[in-house]
Symmetry: C2
Amino acid sequence: MTEAPHPQLPDAVLRPVRGHHAFEACVEQLATAIRLGVYPLGSTLPAERELADRLHVSRATLREAMAALRQAGLVETRRGRGGGTVVTLKPRTPSARKAARVSAAVRADWLDVLEYRRITEPGGAYLAALRQRDGDLEEEQRDQLHAALDEVAGADRPAEHRQADSRLHLTIAALTGSPRLVAAVTDVQRVLHEMLLAIPVLDTNIAHSDRQHAAVVRAVLAGKPDRARKAMEEHCDDTAALLRGLVG
Amino acid sequence: MTEAPHPQLPDAVLRPVRGHHAFEACVEQLATAIRLGVYPLGSTLPAERELADRLHVSRATLREAMAALRQAGLVETRRGRGGGTVVTLKPRTPSARKAARVSAAVRADWLDVLEYRRITEPGGAYLAALRQRDGDLEEEQRDQLHAALDEVAGADRPAEHRQADSRLHLTIAALTGSPRLVAAVTDVQRVLHEMLLAIPVLDTNIAHSDRQHAAVVRAVLAGKPDRARKAMEEHCDDTAALLRGLVG
DNA sequence: GAGATTTGGTCTGAACTCAGACCTATACTG
DNA sequence: CAGTATAGGTCTGAGTTCAGACCAAATCTC
């Protein structure tokens, strides 16, 4: 029998088919959406039946996930018409805690995310600018982008700034209309958020970051793909340099 | 109760948590690895216990998947020491069939992949060249890249050329050492393979494609990230232009 | 206030998945 | 040739997930 003549490929290509337990995956997705500010404090989640439908799980499974979120204090639930599940989690301040000891596997994952981000987010900015240039963006989408940028610039407290930052990056990705790209950026932002909570970042230099955000948005709205990509690359590089030093 | 004030984000961020049935996901992954030539005709798959371990499923579930692959004629199995599961699927010739009617959802997915590819594969080439420039690539990895390129250039029959092409792209992605990037490129190549089997591609212009491959590999081995990315972008753009026209 | 509607809460039986022990076939080793 | 190692083949009981029906509470409409 012949062995596979490409020894490096199977190791790279075969991956775990899923993180066991559908309800854990639901908790993960919903908690991520809440932490990243897709559903901010006080907002209502979609009805159970709709969420179950969207996540492709049974309502029973989704309810298990909801119970976990409730127990973890992220949401509260009221029944009856007009009821529903409301976000109660206050955004946490980045770096408010001591540096947790992280395993080698987690550290490797963090470093992977920083490289992956260097590719995906600038790529997203590029595609978004391309769509703008070609007239494929709706007025409403441009407004959303403006609004997201204003929220970042207007957030005074670090915790709100962090969520607004995530939302801006996700909004840019959403402008591309590419489900795969949105998924990639969501994954990146999730891990980034995890890092920022676990690492004591001394000085985030929010003003610098906001100038870069503005530059990216300007380039996107001007329909300049290459400039948008370049601007986002610089933004990612600056963040990465800061974090890489602290992760080791 | 407040509604989520970012109407575009939940729709984009919440996704199905998985394609139900672990065994279907196993079939999908293994069939993809076989079709893309990660396990070429005549090669032996890893033992069941090892595969189950790697895919994070129980052996019972993996065996269901194996049974499906066997029934579909992709593999054959012999028991006993020195036995195992051997690939019997002959690579299929692209575009050997009439154009199948594809649903709107599939067509949208295909177009998404072409955009996503435009981001991920050039990004992978960029990162690989960066690692080469910084001396992070082993001698063995450079050899693998050379070998993969030679196989593409040396493949005479279209079916073998298609597999060698996939392997080259996966090899470049694997050079980056980024699990996320390898996963992204695997996904891209899987859908690309699906497209090429379903669409009657009239003239692939293999010589042109091989020149572009060579340019990418040269740039990677020279440690020139920007040139590698540019070369891969051109390669992706040419493929995409061809396919987009045929998909509509 | 009566009734309709929307929302979360509960239950059931079938199907899927799991971990792990155990059986069987084949080939290598001494 | 006997023993051992390595492979696939089989079984079991417990946990998870499913689809869908039905119940209960809160609100809206008339």
